[in-house]
């Protein structure tokens, strides 16, 4: 083995150029795959850092719910429950050691004279015991102390928050922390590595769910109301218990609760709706990786990226196969001599495997920095709130994945060259080949196959990247119905600092007034719901003159806005009037609706003057109609919307501000900071960015996949071009005799050049046909991620084919020119 490794090392030293290209190709192919695999692992497969995470289960129930439904990134509607229902289920199963609930909230955290905005979680008393967590310091909540509303006034810090804010001081326990204006005693610190059940929400503090009313003013969640759905519920299986057993036990209990307690509470639903409500059942799902919608949202994009990088690796493998064939050909003489001297196949095989192993090892080691660089690129493409979930460090996934993938790739790439080497006859190799007859018809076909494969893979990737670029272009051309530049946006939540609703409202008015008079500002306004930030506030509405059929969807999105909202965002007023400073609390209630609302509720030309309300009461007069403008997302369909004056509500404790600048809105940032700081130095400003950034973050997934797919497609195309060039050059050397013969028989130089080009283009045509099929398959996988685009978009397909043929022509031009310059007399080795 030692001798084989020494011989392998000699081979590498003898052919440094070819070996460097093999190693770099391998490192690039393996590196991007290891990076994407690591991301895939971190996002989708990584278990929560709790004891025996495989025992955790999520509780869910599909079917209709009435009343208020509030969901977050921890799960969809099917995973949201009322607090009383959670309490009913808590003691119902012997197969579960615990059932716990939680809900994330925004939290202003004040301590030591500094207030920051952060993330908190309201947890039930058995949250930590169900997770079987031990505190880093202090203690965690006990089930028996989280019982009565308004108590206990305690808080547990996350490990990261404890480190960042308190320098990991064990003396922190016993101190107080002001959360959303309420002073709570710090009783302990959660263990390191645990950020909550939702691994994509970086939690700072854990508070008892019984403090709900204190900590969440303005949100209609309830500890008593069975029609208030806001709590996420999970459990832990007893040792040895199966999910099916626990579900079988819990489901009848749930159904009984639905029939006996919940059905009588439902009102106004049609018979069909009631039937669906009654037939709801309970399911338990594995939750070792925690509870988050990101798992479902990220699965397809990550699978697509895995497929894309897999193709990059295949292109790299094909390249390496070609290079190994060339390496093998150049070593054939030496191997033949060794065979003639008595070396057996085992000896030759060991030596060649040693060469492959050495190449794989070096390639894998170089792939580690490639992987980390790739992960840094990915992290750079993510907005701040998502970037923390990725750790671009050398973890076992990168090292293990890199070594395994490199080994498999080199083995895959080395199979044919190895086989070719072993089957060669030493006599043939030692002797100068005396005839072109039979000079590798199979080898020629194999090389042609490799070229076609490379072209197919590269084309598929080019098509996919083209689709995403086109999709991004479609997104950027989307008519949002408003002018978002040059506008600055930020939020404040005074209610979380203990402000009353009236004080908050006064503060919002003052901020808007002072912003409006700032130099460089055209106009300023505020809204309750941040636009283009994936926030959706919907309400069932009643509209004068509109008779809703049973089970008809009568919901509309809504927002509470300041007077100049439509001016700041340049949303055209089509009819009626805007809100003004007179639309305040004690004045008649008014609303403005958009065109989609007018269409949905058949208001026609007579919308202005009609009455509407959220609920059954027609308590608002529609005073204006505005054009349709985007609400929660750039890609989302513009929903029917109604707007109410922000100063006519009593529950707005947080507001989002929009400032239209004369020029660059980023120049206003220092002025905005000092303005808010002057009014309340303890009021954290959140998300102080231009609307352009808001829009970018709203479509970050599209941008990330588009950018990565383009980068990987470029890499694959470059590898394919290098590979094609290498194959053609290698083939040219192999075919020098043949080309010389053709020249001797009268082929003109231009004809020979044309011949090589045409042969390459024929292979490109075959590769294109296969590549288009592959692209179609990948396109179907990506369909859900494309915006207003078919996976068979002709412009993209044609563009990708044109680019690829351009690359093919460029890559084959030099070998073709060399073919034209082959001197027949040299090629035929006369002298």
């Amino acid at each position: 083995m030692k001798a084989a490794m020494a011989a392998a090392w000699r081979t590498l030293k003898r052919r440094p150029g070819i070996c460097v290209v093999i190693v770099l190709t391998l490192a690039l192919g393996v590196g991007v795959n290891a990076a994407v695999f690591s991301i895939f692992h971190q996002v989708l497969l990584q278990d929560l850092d709790v004891p025996r995470p495989g025992e955790l289960v999520v509780v869910q129930s599909t079917g209709p719910r009435s009343g208020s439904i509030s969901i977050s990134g921890s799960g969809g509607e099917e995973q949201i429950f009322s607090y009383p229902l959670y309490e009913d289920l808590r003691e119902a199963s012997s197969h579960l050691t615990g059932i716990a609930g939680f809900r994330g909230i925004n939290a202003n955290l004040a301590a030591g004279g500094e207030t920051t905005s952060g993330s908190g979680v309201l947890v039930t008393g058995d949250y930590f015991s169900t997770l079987e967590l031990r505190p880093e310091v202090g203690r965690l909540f006990r089930a028996d102390e989280v019982v009565s509303a308004g108590a206990p006034r305690l808080v547990v810090l996350s490990h990261a928050f404890w480190q960042d804010r308190y320098g990991a001081d064990p003396g922190t326990v016993g101190k107080t922390l002001v959360v959303n204006g309420h002073t709570l005693e710090i009783i302990g610190v959660a263990p390191a590595g645990f950020h909550g059940m939702n691994p994509f929400n970086k939690v700072d503090v854990f508070m008892p769910v019984t403090l709900l009313d204190d900590l969440t003013s303005g949100i209609n969640w309830s500890l008593e109301d069975r029609r208030s759905h806001w709590l996420y519920v999970f459990g832990r299986l007893a040792p040895g218990a199966l999910i099916a057993d626990a579900q079988e036990e819990l489901d009848p209990v749930f159904r009984n609760i639905i029939r006996a307690i919940e059905v009588p509470l439902q009102q106004g639903g049609s018979a069909n709706w009631m039937q669906r409500f009654e037939s709801r059942n309970l399911e338990l799902l594995p939750a070792s990786a925690g509870q988050s919608t990101t798992h479902a949202d990220a699965r397809m994009p990550l699978l697509l990226l895995l497929a894309v990088t897999g193709l990059v690796l295949l292109v790299a493998c094909v390249n390496i196969t070609n290079l190994l064939l060339a390496l093998g050909a150049s070593e054939q003489g030496e191997i033949a001599v060794r065979q003639a001297l008595g070396a057996g196949r085992r000896h030759i095989l060991t030596q060649r495997l040693a060469v492959l192993a050495t190449l794989a090892l070096i390639g894998a080691v170089i792939s580690f920095p490639v992987a980390i660089a790739t992960m840094h690129i990915v992290q750079g493409l993510l907005p701040e709130f998502a970037a923390f979930t990725l750790s671009p460090a050398l973890d076992w996934a990168i090292v293990g994945g890199g070594l395994i993938v490199a080994g498999l790739a080199i083995l895959l790439a080395g199979l044919v060259p190895l086989w070719q080497l072993l089957r060669s006859s030493p006599v043939q190799a030692i002797r100068e080949q005396s005839s072109r007859a039979g000079s590798g018809r199979t080898a020629t076909q194999f090389r042609a196959l490799l070229v076609s494969m490379q072209i197919a893979f590269a084309l598929a990737l080019l098509v996919v990247s083209g689709l995403f670029i086109q999709s991004l272009s479609n997104i950027s051309r989307t008519d949002l119905g408003m002018q978002t530049a040059p506008v600055l946006m930020f939020s404040i939540s005074p209610e979380r600092n203990g402000y009353s609703a009236e004080r908050s409202r006064d503060l919002f008015q003052t901020i808007v007034q002072r912003l409006s008079t700032m130099p460089g500002v055209v106009a300023a306004s505020a809204s309750m719901v941040p636009i283009l930030s994936d926030s959706n506030w919907n309400s069932s509405v009643t509209v004068q003159g509109y008779e809703a059929a049973p089970d008809t969807d009568t919901t509309a999105s809504y927002n509470a806005i300041g007077p100049a909202f439509f001016d700041v965002l340049s949303i055209p007023l089509l009819n009626g009037r805007r809100f003004d400073s007179g639309d305040i609390n004690d004045r008649p209630k008014v609303a403005i609706v958009n065109n989609a609302f007018v269409r949905k509720f058949d208001l026609g030309q007579a919308a202005v003057g009609k009455r509407m309300g959220s609920g059954d009461e027609l308590d608002r007069e529609i005073v204006g109609v505005v054009a349709d403008a985007a609400y929660s997302g750039v890609k989302a369909e513009i929903p029917p919307q109604f707007f109410i004056p922000i100063y006519q509500t009593t529950t707005v404790g947080s507001a989002n501000f929009y400032v239209r600048a004369v020029a660059d809105p980023a120049g206003l940032i220092p002025g905005v900071r000092s303005l808010v700081g002057e009014l309340d130095p303890n009021l954290p400003i959140e998300g102080l960015v231009t609307m352009d950034v808001v829009i970018e973050e709203n479509v970050f997934l599209d941008r990330m996949i588009g950018t990565l797919a383009s980068l990987f497609a470029l890499l694959a195309t470059a590898l394919a071009a290098v590979g094609l060039f290498g194959v053609l050059t290698f083939a040219l050397v192999q075919r020098t005799g043949e080309i010389g013969l053709r020249a001797a028989l009268g082929a003109a130089p231009a004809g020979l050049q044309r011949m090589v080009l045409m042969q390459t283009l024929r292979l490109a045509a075959i590769g294109t046909a296969v590549g288009l099929v592959l692209a179609w398959l990948l396109g179907r996988l990506a369909q859900g991620l494309l915006f207003e685009l078919s996976p068979l978009e002709p412009l993209v397909l044609v563009g990708a084919v044109v680019v690829l043929f351009g690359v093919v022509v460029v890559a084959s031009w030099l070998p073709a020119r060399r073919a034209a310059r082959v001197q027949p007399v040299q090629a035929l080795r006369y002298e």
Partner: protein, 267 residues
């Protein structure tokens, strides 16, 4: 050598010098050669004498460093690469020692090859010409085989068919029997003789005197020059003498060792 104005090939003072690593090698040193239409000429000589270089220049595969060359009345020493390719295609048929068939192409496709480089020849006409050529060499029954499926003799027959298919003015054969056993070698020579009897002009390089005798005219080369038989004989004798002297000197240098051995006393 007499100059013949009607010669198919007419070479005057052809020289070829190779330069490699500052070393000048005079492969051809003032060749005068004329070949008439219908003639069968053999060129022989020791290895490295320049016969293959001469054949390369004759076949327009290479260009002379100096001198004049007229083929079928046309001066060809300074024409472009494309023109040379066209003349090779139309005027010259090559038969190589190593057969040089293309392994990826079938027998008939190999034979058709020269016609594919000729404008205005339809696919059908190409195929008919190839079949006729294969019939002439007795290989029409193997037209769909690949070269690897043929014996050496059969491959050379196919190579001859390929040389004939374009009806060239002259066939240039470079050691056509070099890779064949004697039986196949004789068969190929018989085939060339038959072609010559049919009117073909042939110029063959060989170092085998038995095969050189098949030609109407034999020329000999030595150190890049054409020499007559008497001069060749004389030069060979001189060379042999020099060799014998070197052998004697080498033996003389070894002799003292032998003496030492015999003088060593036994113990």
């Amino acid at each position: 050598m007499m100059k013949d104005d009607n010669a198919l090939i007419d070479m005057t003072d052809i020289r070829k010098v190779f330069y490699a690593d500052e070393v000048e090698t005079h492969a051809l040193a003032g060749i005068q050669l004329s070949i008439a239409a219908g003639e069968y000429l053999s060129i022989s000589g020791p290895s490295g004498c320049g016969k293959s270089t001469l054949l390369s220049i004759l076949g327009l595969l290479d260009t002379p460093t100096d001198g004049h060359y007229r083929l079928n009345g046309m001066a060809v020493e300074d024409i472009s690469a494309s023109q040379r390719a066209r003349i090779r295609n139309q005027e010259i048929g090559f038969i190589f020692q190593a057969f040089n068939l293309i392994g990826d192409l079938s027998v008939v496709e190999n034979v058709e090859l020269p016609l594919t480089y000729r404008d205005g020849v339809s696919k059908k006409a190409r195929r008919e010409s190839a079949l006729r050529a294969l019939e002439r060499v007795g290989m029409a029954h193997r037209l769909n085989h690949f070269p690897a499926q043929l014996s050496g003799g059969q491959q050379q027959r196919v190579a001859v068919a390929r040389a004939l298919v374009g009806e060239p003015a002259i066939l240039l054969a470079d050691e056509p029997t070099g890779n064949l056993d004697s039986r196949n070698g004789e068969a190929v020579m018989a085939l060339l003789a038959e072609l010559h009897a049919g009117g073909a002009t042939i110029c063959m390089v060989t170092h085998d005197p038995r095969y050189a005798d098949f030609a109407d005219r034999k020329i000999h080369m030595f150190d890049g020059q054409i020499v007559d038989e008497e001069t060749l004989h004389k030069l060979r004798q001189e060379e042999e003498q020099r060799l014998q002297e070197q052998i004697s000197q080498a033996r003389a240098r070894r002799a003292p060792h032998a003496d030492d051995m015999t003088q060593t006393p036994s113990s």
